[in-house]
Amino acid sequence: MSIEVRGLNKKFGDFVALDDVDVTIPTGQLTALLGPSGGGKSTLLRIIAGLEKGDSGSVNIEGTEATHLPPQKRNVGFVFQHYAVFKHMTVAKNVAFGLEIRKRPKDEIEHRVQELLKLVHLSQFSHRLPSQLSGGQRQRMALARALAVEPTVLLLDEPFGALDAKVRKELRDWLRRLHDDVHVTTVFVTHDQEEAMEVADEIVVINEGRVEQVGTPDQLYDEPANDFVMSFLGEVTHLGGVSLRPHDVEVESSPHHAGSIEGTVSRLVRIGFEVRLTVLTVDGEEVSVVLTRTHARALGLEEGSTVFLTPAAGATVIPRMAVAG
């Protein structure tokens, strides 16, 4: 239910933005569309909102066939990366816009606007113009404006992309809490895996116009469907034909485990409690390893030490593919 996308294709000239995409986004959840820039995730979001038209395929929103509906008729709230504020209107007028279009009674509009401004903590700014707000405040205003019309789904296109790191983190936490309270089906696009993992209930990984994997943050991290998902969600290294996380490589000073691979520490960098090694194996492979300071000291590691590497027990390991980075 909720948002169902079937067989969606979209080309811009020769560029394939979406290639036969099927995806179902569950009701009432906070879903992230995650992927590298130019991977098609924004295009998918814009097609769901009706701001762009797919070449073929269908979009169904909460049981309503929406493929050919104009954006005005879809009842979706859309939040843009660069806020898309109505510059000449006050904050209150911006938020009231959708309600005025719907010709709601004046006092109802006023009441609802006050309520929403309170929700986004902008009550005292209601008579300001957007140009007098900070980026974070503008985006919160844009969010209130989108929520005002009680949308069936709320779509956010890189909502925090234009903000500095601190504000972004703040807004991210806040969006999560807001969603826990409001429970409107929410989809947001991001290329920041940390943001997706931290905020979303479910993540749809999109790359080169295709859905690579759908799952909860834990599922994606622990059971990546392929090398791409694995490398996109965190650091990856390769050891004896498999891909795994650098902190999942076990280091020993003597060959305890069968099948351990011998190598020499070619580089050792310490960052706080963390030690990063580059190990050159006898097969000529460069393996990145992360371990704690304590562990490294216990092993007496330094550049030039001989070490034996094995994938740690319970590590996420997938066979290495040709394109692995």
Binding site: A49, G50, L51, P70, P71, Q72, R74, N75, V76, G77, F78, F80, H82, A84, V85, F86, K87, H88, M89, K93, F97, G98, I101, R102, E115, K118, L119, H121, L122, Q124, H127, R128, L129, Q132, L133, S134, G136, Q137, R140, A142, R145, A146, A148, V149, V167, E170, L171, D173, W174, R177, L178, D180, D181, V182
Partner: protein, 290 residues
């Protein structure tokens, strides 16, 4: 919904300012650096030499005759008719330009069609052409033995035509860059909030364009009331019918009647100022309303 909403909190980041702070414009204190002082001085001297002093001289000369001087000049039916004709036609043409100019700018920015780049260049031709040549061009099409059967030369319509021709680019060129800068995100945001195309234009796009339209209209009007060259050929300068103020001023001067010329000139100056001020007020109103 509202009861549950109080849970989410966030620090209200960003600069805080007095509550309910509506923008109040304050005159900035003198913050001129020495370099800026020289710049301002140069600007003022240049502006004074070219504009302020000559204008003051005209007004002073006209005023030396007292109010009666103005009265006598405007009393003359031929002069009064010229003033009426000039002002009405300039207003009409400016109004036409507001609509047509905005449409042309829109087409040039938002649509893609064959010959668009060429059109974009040609728009400036009426402005670049020597005005006498402009008159000649129009005379060819709308003059006697008009190939399209519209013989408007030497009628009041000729004045409209000539003024429309020479003022065409003003609004196009002021609106165009603003339209190019306009964020289509904003229109899409309005659309997803349920606004129809006409509503989006009226409530979102137009308020952004109004300042540009107003300044283009001011230019267009100012140019129209001062037009001379193209009218000489096309309108025939028939007293009480197609004679405009600039021609009238010239004939005053040719007859050595400098004080009448000055009086009439300062009347036109006043009208021009009035229109510019009115346009500015309109622009502020509309831009604020949304």
């Amino acid at each position: 919904m509202s009861a549950a909403l109080t849970g989410a909190t966030i620090d209200t980041a960003g600069p805080a300012s007095p509550q309910g702070g509506r923008t109040r414009r304050t005159t900035p204190r003198n913050t001129l650096t020495p370099g800026a002082g020289v710049g301002l001085g140069l600007a003022m001297i240049w502006f004074s030499l070219l504009v302020l002093l000559p204008l003051s001289a005209i007004v002073a000369r006209a005023a030396s005759g007292g109010w009666s001087q103005y009265y006598t000049v405007l009393q003359n039916p031929q002069t009064w008719n010229a003033v009426q004709l000039t002002v009405t036609q300039s207003l009409v043409v400016t109004l036409i330009n507001v609509v047509v100019g905005t449409v042309i700018a829109w087409v040039l920015v938002r649509d893609r069609f064959w010959g668009q780049r060429l059109l974009n260049v040609i728009i400036d031709v009426p402005f670049a052409l020597p005005t006498v040549v402009a008159g000649l061009v129009l005379l060819g099409l709308y003059g006697p033995n008009s190939p399209i059967g519209v013989e408007w030369a030497f009628t009041p319509n000729a004045v409209t035509l000539a003024l429309a021709f020479v003022t065409l680019p003003f609004i196009v060129r002021t609106v165009q860059p603003v339209l190019e800068e306009l964020d289509t995100d904003v229109e899409q945001a309005a659309a997803s909030l349920g606004a129809s195309r006409p509503t989006i234009f009226r409530r979102i796009i137009l308020p952004s364009l109004v300042p540009a339209i107003a300044s283009g209209a001011a230019l267009s009007f100012a140019r129209a009331i001062s037009e001379y060259g193209s009218l000489v050929l096309l309108s025939g300068n028939r007293p009480n019918q197609t004679e405009v103020v600039s021609v009238r001023v010239l004939s005053f001067i040719e007859n050595g009647n400098y004080s009448s010329a000055a009086a009439l000139a300062s009347v036109m100056l006043f009208i021009a100022l009035l229109v510019i001020v009115v346009l500015d007020i309109v622009q502020r109103r509309v831009a604020r309303r949304g």
